[in-house]
């Protein structure tokens, strides 16, 4: 353990960076960008430091706690465990990519500042161990995202931004009531008011039926963020209208906030209610997988296609989460990281296609492989990862999720497998239409991937391949925390984890 407020710095460094960038004179757009990249890379380095010093056990590590509002038992409490570790790394990785990758058309300074503030918020969500703090960062994330979509997005940006903001805010309103109810019920029972996650998870103080309502309040908020079918309608709009960096972050990091919320708060605080309501969420997850895939198939807009594929992929994560088996949860956590990397990369690539051709219509593209073979190759790798081809990261996650859920929730796992096939269908079909054939018209002059773009893609592709070939180090670090969580759920319900629980499954067969 290192004697340095690592996590606090991880959260506050981007926030301070945002402030610093905001103070840069308007004319110095380059300076703002350089500063932004430096800060986000610095944050990524800190995340790597956390990885290096991370001890493989189930505890929260690097915990830093400062009293904030004493009277209310509210504190600034951050901590890291196996579940959040890789999400923090993912966030650290994607923000520099998002800052460097796409071109900014105007007002670079504000753009960079908002992105950095967004990073601070995302890091805060993944690290917060105090419900009040969690809610604050959860809401803070909305504001920069709103401005990014509304300020730098495409034609229907204002509508999409507003829809995103209002949807999420409606959900979090319910969650706030849930958080408060939980805290006050705890106070009524134990005599002291606290918003500390660990205390509230340990000292359960409510009846089953109450727990169910509270879980519902949290779950709706998370389900909107994930998004779980039928609360997903904000997502295609937001993703499609957002600027490329916005889409990358939205898909790569923001959607994970919801699934992470289910794991960290849903299961931790309401193991019994989560268990009771699991069939509902599993069903919605599976519906999401199939629905997302089917709708993606018929999209004419490449970006919208990727957006709907997210709905399907996140269905897998929900499925893994509510399987309540070690493999399922492990797969879910891994899949969060995988989806972040591969869908982030996909959005980046689609963004570059748009920068070159000023269209995202699949019908207007074609034959790009001939003129831009490297571009096509990178797209292929990323897409195959998204499909779940063995040897790439997507496979490991999906496979674990399916094994884990098959053991305990057979009836949901079987139809979900169809989602894998459908993913192959819509992505390969899209690839075929965009890259195969003879390039005509403007497609014939499609520029090849630049060196800068290759540099940006390199870490993403490396992560895709590494986690596909050798996921063991990642899974080893995730496992203890997941095991503890699964144990926590089963203890509360008086059930046991079915199947070969001890065998940490997966890997690369």
């Amino acid at each position: 353990m290192i004697d340095f407020p690592l996590l606090t710095t991880i959260v506050l460094l981007p926030a301070a960076g945002a402030l610093l960038v905001a103070l840069v004179p308007r004319r110095r757009a380059d300076l703002a960008k350089v500063l932004g990249v430096a800060v986000s890379v610095g944050t990524a380095v800190l995340a790597v430091v956390a990885l290096v010093h991370f001890k493989t056990n189930a505890d929260y590590q690097f915990v830093s706690q400062h009293v904030w509002i004493k009277e209310w038992g509210i504190s600034w409490k951050l901590g890291l465990d196996g579940i959040s570790l890789f999400l923090v790394l993912l966030t650290g990785l994607l923000f520099p990519v998002a800052l460097l990758g796409p071109k900014v058309h105007h007002d670079t300074k504000a753009y960079v500042a908002w992105l950095l503030l967004l990073e601070a918020g995302c890091m805060g969500v993944f690290l917060a161990l105090d419900l009040f703090l969690f809610f604050i960062v959860w809401e803070v994330v909305l504001v920069p995202m709103y401005f990014l979509i509304g300020g730098w997005g495409y034609e229907k940006r204002v509508y999409a931004a507003l829809k995103f903001f209002l949807y999420t805010m409606a959900g979090s309103g319910l969650m706030l009531v849930g958080i408060l109810a939980l805290a006050f019920l705890h106070q009524a029972h134990f005599g002291h008011l606290t918003f500390d996650l660990q205390t509230l998870a340990r000292e359960q103080s409510f009846a089953h039926s109450t727990g169910r309502w509270l879980f519902l309040a949290f779950a709706i908020s998370f389900a909107i963020k994930v998004p779980v079918f039928p609360l997903h309608t904000w997502l295609p709009d937001a993703h499609t209208e957002a600027p490329t960096a916005g889409s990358v972050i939205l898909a790569g990091v923001l959607l994970k906030l919801g699934t992470y919320g289910f794991l960290r708060f849903g299961l931790e605080l309401f193991p019994i209610a989560a268990h009771d309501l699991a069939p509902v969420l599993l069903t919605l997850g599976v519906v999401g997988i199939l629905y997302g895939a089917l709708v993606a198939t018929v999209q004419k807009d490449l970006k919208r296609l990727v957006a709907y594929s997210s709905v399907a992929h996140l269905g897998f994560i929900v499925l893994g989460t509510f399987a309540f088996t070690t493999q399922g949860l492990e797969g879910g956590v891994l899949q969060m990281v995988n989806h972040g990397v591969s869908t982030g990369a996909l959005f980046l690539l689609v963004g570059w296609i748009y920068e070159r051709r000023h269209t995202r219509e699949i019908a207007e593209l074609g034959g790009l492989q001939k003129v831009a073979p490297v571009f096509a190759g990178v797209f292929m790798v990323v897409m195959l990862s998204s499909i779940g081809l063995p040897g790439l990261n997507g496979f490991v996650g999906e496979f674990l999720v399916l094994i884990g859920s098959f053991v305990s929730r057979r009836w949901w796992a079987v139809p979900a497998t169809a989602g894998v096939i459908l993913a192959a269908l819509y992505l390969l079909w899209a690839y075929q239409r965009v890259f195969h054939g003879e390039p005509e018209g403007e497609n014939a002059t499609f520029p090849e991937m630049t060196w800068k773009e290759r540099g940006v893609m390199l870490p993403l592709v490396a992560a895709i391949v590494f986690m596909g070939v050798y996921p063991r180090p990642v899974l080893d670090r995730i496992e203890p925390a997941v095991k503890r969580l699964v144990q926590h759920v089963h203890d509360a319900n008086g059930t046991h984890e079915p199947g070969p629980a001890a065998a940490a499954g997966g890997g690369n067969p």
């Binding site: 009293v67 309103g173 009531v177 408060l180």
Partner: protein
């Protein structure tokens, strides 16, 4: 027959005295020296007087909060009470006076209005607000209410050359007088039911008798209606949009902050502490008022195209949120309402300050169009407004969020889950119209520079006022959250 003469403890009403004497001095000075002194002198004088009142209130605060319950006491034949509650409102009101005076300074010069009279009326109005918060007798509350209101009627019509301002004054006067009369009926009924107008004696009477007389219920209803007008709660809000829109904008800010705070001071003291024993009788009324205010305020704000009018409706919905604290009828609820008022004062004064500046000559440009492209033309001003609007929407890291958090937590603690959920969902509706202004400022495309013949200027005083508002909004929402919560909690020390 020898009379029992009351002892007048001047120290206890020192803030009020400073305001009134100061106002009279400005009145005299303005009458005798008008031609010889520039307008800013009166602003400075007004600020010094308000600051003096603030200092004396702070002295009282130290005494009251120092030894917990012992510091709170009644004075002047039990007509006035000094407790955390009254001093809190004194501090709040004086702060609002200072911010409004700073904002009004450049406004009065821009619109060529008489400076001394404006400040005199504002100080007198503030003294009425202080009296309402410190009153321990329904009659004294009425006295404060009238002093507050009459000065405000005149202020609403202060821009005499503009017809809307005259209309606002007339409407406010007629409806305000009407509500005062209803309040007086309530006082009469309360006297009939309990035999006293003194809040302490009424409370003692009610503690001794459990039964609820119909006359007492009538008193509740009339008092709620009378004060409901002042705080602009639905369904007594009809005057609010017209009056807020028509009044000179700095007056609107002052009115929204001080008149509402004073109305709530009276409402909270009368119902929470005096009628606290009969809370089951009045809680449903407040519940309905809160829900209606929140919903109607938010929904009607959505369809407004005038920013000033939109802010008027938003202030109606804020009143609903503050009522949530009263509805809970717990110490946390009371503290929540007080904290909300603290946050609200800065948010609303800052917001109307921006409207003052953007409206420019003639106070006319208050439509949404005037804000088009503000993000490009005046990025600083747009940023300040954005922060204030987000705070009003209840986005974290601002005082507005903590205010909502506080009252909602009081509702949840009191098991009013339905109210809490309605309030949170209505916050989404409210967020919509705040965001709409932000959209217009930043995302409305490039056809911005329509009115650049008349650029927006930010004079020093107005800038200072805005800076204080926005910094307070952010700081209370972040680092000073703990102390601010403590401040509100100390203020909820009521002398029962």
């Amino acid at each position: 027959m020898p009379l029992e003469l009351p002892r007048v403890e001047w120290a206890t009403i020192l803030p009020e005295t400073i305001l009134v004497v100061g106002a009279m001095l400005i009145l005299l000075g303005g009458a005798l020296l008008r031609r010889r002194l520039p307008a800013w002198v009166w602003t400075v004088a007004s600020i010094i007087i308000a600051a003096g009142a603030m200092v004396s209130a702070w002295d009282l605060w130290r005494r009251v909060s120092h030894n917990h319950q012992g510091g709170a006491h009644t004075a002047i034949a039990n007509a006035v009470v000094v407790d955390g509650f009254s001093v809190y409102f004194a501090l709040l009101t004086c702060g609002a006076v200072i911010l409004a005076a700073l904002m009004a300074d450049s406004y009065l010069r821009r619109e060529r209005l008489n400076a001394p009279e404006f400040h005199v009326l504002m100080l007198l109005s503030a003294s009425g607000a202080l009296l309402m918060a410190a009153a321990n007798d329904l009659i004294v509350i009425f006295l404060g209410l009238e002093v507050l209101s009459i000065a405000l009627y005149v202020l609403a019509g202060f821009a005499q050359r503009r017809a809307v301002s005259r209309e606002a004054a007339m409407k406010y006067f007629v409806l305000g007088a009407f509500s005062s009369a209803i309040f007086l009926y309530g006082v009469a009924l309360a006297y009939g039911a309990t035999g006293s107008t003194n809040l302490g004696e009424i409370a003692a009477f009610l503690r001794a008798s459990v039964s609820t007389h119909a006359v007492l219920l009538g008193a509740f209803a009339f008092l709620i209606v009378g004060l409901g007008f002042k705080i602009a709660a639905v369904p007594f809000h009809m005057w609010t949009p017209d009056v807020y829109q028509g009044s000179p904008t700095p007056v609107t800010g002052f009115m929204a902050a001080v008149a509402k705070a004073a109305g709530f001071a009276a409402l909270l003291r009368i119902f929470f502490s005096t009628f606290g024993t009969h809370r089951l009788d009045w809680q449903p009324l407040i519940w309905a008022l809160a829900v209606l205010s929140i919903l109607v305020g938010s929904v009607l704000a959505v369809v407004q195209t005038d920013v000033k009018r939109m802010l008027a409706y938003s202030s109606i919905s804020h009143a609903g949120y503050i009522l949530i604290g009263l509805q809970a009828a717990t110490v946390r609820g009371l503290a929540g309402s007080l904290f909300y008022l603290l946050a609200y004062t800065f948010m609303v004064l800052g917001s109307f300050g921006i409207v003052t500046l953007v409206a420019r000559d003639g106070d006319a440009r208050t439509g949404l169009d005037a804000y088009r492209g503000l993000g490009q033309r005046r990025p600083g001003l747009a940023l300040v407004f954005t922060v204030l609007l987000l705070a009003q929407a209840g986005v974290p890291l601002t005082s507005g969020f903590l205010a909502k958090f506080y009252v909602i937590s009081a509702a949840v603690e009191a098991h009013s889950y339905a109210l809490a959920i309605i309030a949170m969902l209505a916050a989404v509706i409210a967020a919509f119209f705040y965001l709409r202004v932000i959209v217009v400022m930043y995302m409305a495309g490039d056809e911005a520079d329509t009115a650049d013949a008349d650029p927006i200027r930010v004079p020093f005083g107005a800038g200072l006022s805005l800076a204080v508002s926005v910094v307070a909004t952010v700081i209370i929402g972040t680092i000073l959250a703990g102390p601010a919560f403590d401040f509100a909690r100390h203020a909820s020390i009521l002398r029962l």
